[in-house]
Amino acid sequence: MSKMESENIYYEGRIKVPYKWYVGETGSRFFIALRDKKEIWGIRCPRCRKVYVPPVKNCWECFIPTKEWVRLKDTGTLESFTVVHYPNEVIPKKPPVVYGLIKIDGADGSLLHFVGDIDISELKTGMRVRAVFADERAGNILDIKHFAPIP
């Protein structure tokens, strides 16, 4: 498709290549636990003992394979958040959308996810949250619907 604008033509097109990203064995195990059991699992580095969520096949600090799976709770602490006010076709929600970095109890870092079931004015860092699982789960990150404040 092209449109005329004065003497200059603009050409409207797109790049639509269908992608199918392989999650891999490590990630699949994480998602399957979310999907089938509503459980959050992390993985621990045998050397630095850091627990990664989502799991990694290799600890990037120690550069060795991780091995030990660790069952984590579904609760955590909100380390940072933002309220997004603009619409964006890649966000599966209407604005305002709340993103959070959630440090799940027992993990050494935070998980990026949505925060929901909350009055935006009550958001603050350090607040305790719990994972709310989606009713329909397909084996991906959206199997967690969002994290909601623990009353």
Partner: protein, 378 residues
């Protein structure tokens, strides 16, 4: 190690939308750099282009600009990252013994694609992308982390926007010269809290080019050299949530290397001007800390002190910075060009008087994952 000089710089104006094609803006920047250097394409031994396939909507985005970059029958390579990394690679090639002179040219037309979708694609498709996160929403998370760590408030960040947009009034290449107040920033539209519209850079079209040479190639050009005195680059980890967003340790590492090479011990005293990558207002005080201009947690105090204003101790972003014009991929190279102009005393109304040593900084990846630092001087 042999010394490398920058002998030519050229940039287009940075605008919201340009009709000219990728090749045309590259040709404009490159020919400006050649004429600035007082040389022609025959004086160039090899070329490095900088572009990004997602921003350009094309696999092998560099293929559009081979002719315009003057690379016919020459060695050429393409860096996909901020232009400052292109400059780094150009410097390596001029040091390698294979080439004396290198032309580095970066381009982008932010107007042609969709920023939210393009930057969403820099997040991991398995764990993060499906959430719809993008450059701005991830930056907002970093801003909040930094507020928590430093005690900064939104008004502190607003000061950056006020200072840099005012500086941009003196820069004919900039896109958003504005006289605004902290109140204007605070009242501007909420984008991704705590970021408001005036905390965010625009998306720009433009191109920039520099010519690098080793000492043997110097005689080909008429222009007096500006010497690269120090460089450093470094990347932090990737996964948001597992990187300390309030601690720019990769920048500290890059700056440390650049200072060491340049023999700089007290950057606040020894630098005369800084051009850093303020894609969002909060980044400036955070990068102050990374660059060692302020101690940990004290970046906000430095912006509040006014010491980084024009005509003060260490002017930061005399050009108006990235917040006033943000050609992605080009912006770090534009910082370097501004630093060179300062050293040459050719920065016109934005000139920092008597500038002898200047720093330029570029970033790459989400929330400033990777950093490149250049120190240039006489």
């Amino acid at each position: 190690m042999e010394k490398i000089a920058i002998v030519g710089v050229g940039q287009t104006t940075y605008e919201k939308s340009k009709e000219d094609t990728f090749a045309e803006i590259v040709f404009e920047a490159a020919t400006l750099a050649l004429s600035d250097a007082g040389g022609d394409i025959g004086d160039i031994d090899n070329v490095v282009t900088v572009s990004n396939d997602f921003w350009d909507g094309r696999t092998i985005s560099s293929m559009a600009v081979m002719d315009a970059a003057g690379s016919w029958d020459k060695d050429i390579s393409t860096v996909e990252g901020d232009g400052i990394f292109g400059a780094l690679y150009g410097m390596m090639r001029s040091l390698s013994g294979s080439f004396n002179t290198t032309l580095v040219v970066a381009h982008v037309k932010g107007s042609e694609g969709k920023m939210n979708l393009i930057t969403n694609a820099m997040f991991d498709p398995i764990y993060q992308r499906g959430l719809g996160i993008d450059a701005t929403s991830s930056a907002a998370l970093q801003a909040r982390c930094y507020m928590e760590a430093s005690g900064a408030i939104e008004e502190d960040f607003a000061l950056v926007s006020v200072k840099n947009h005012r500086n941009a009034i003196n820069n004919p290449y900039s896109q958003l010269p504005m006289e605004i107040t902290v109140e204007d920033v605070m009242k501007s539209k909420k984008i991704a809290e705590p970021l408001k519209l005036l905390d965010c850079s625009p998306i720009s079209d433009g191109a920039a080019a520099i010519i690098l040479t080793n000492e043997s190639g110097l005689k080909r050009f008429k222009k007096d050299p500006v010497w690269i005195r120090g460089v450093g680059h470094c990347s932090d980890s990737y996964t948001l949530g597992y990187r300390d967003l309030a601690n720019p340790r990769a920048l500290k590492d890059a700056a440390y290397k650049a200072y060491k090479m340049a023999g700089i011990k007290d950057p606040m005293k020894e630098l005369d001007a800084v051009e850093l990558y303020d894609a969002y207002s909060y980044m400036e005080p955070l990068w102050y800390e990374g660059l060692g201009l302020a101690p940990e947690g004290k970046g906000p105090d430095l912006i509040k002190s006014g010491a980084t204003n024009m005509n003060s101790d260490l002017p930061v972003n005399p050009s108006g910075g990235v917040i006033s014009a943000h050609p992605v991929m080009v912006a770090g190279l534009a910082r370097l060009i501004e630093a060179v102009l300062q050293i040459r005393s050719e920065a016109d109304k934005r000139q920092v008087k008597g500038a002898k040593t200047a720093l330029a900084h570029g970033i790459n990846g989400p929330c400033g994952q990777a950093h490149g630092v250049f120190i240039v001087g006489i």
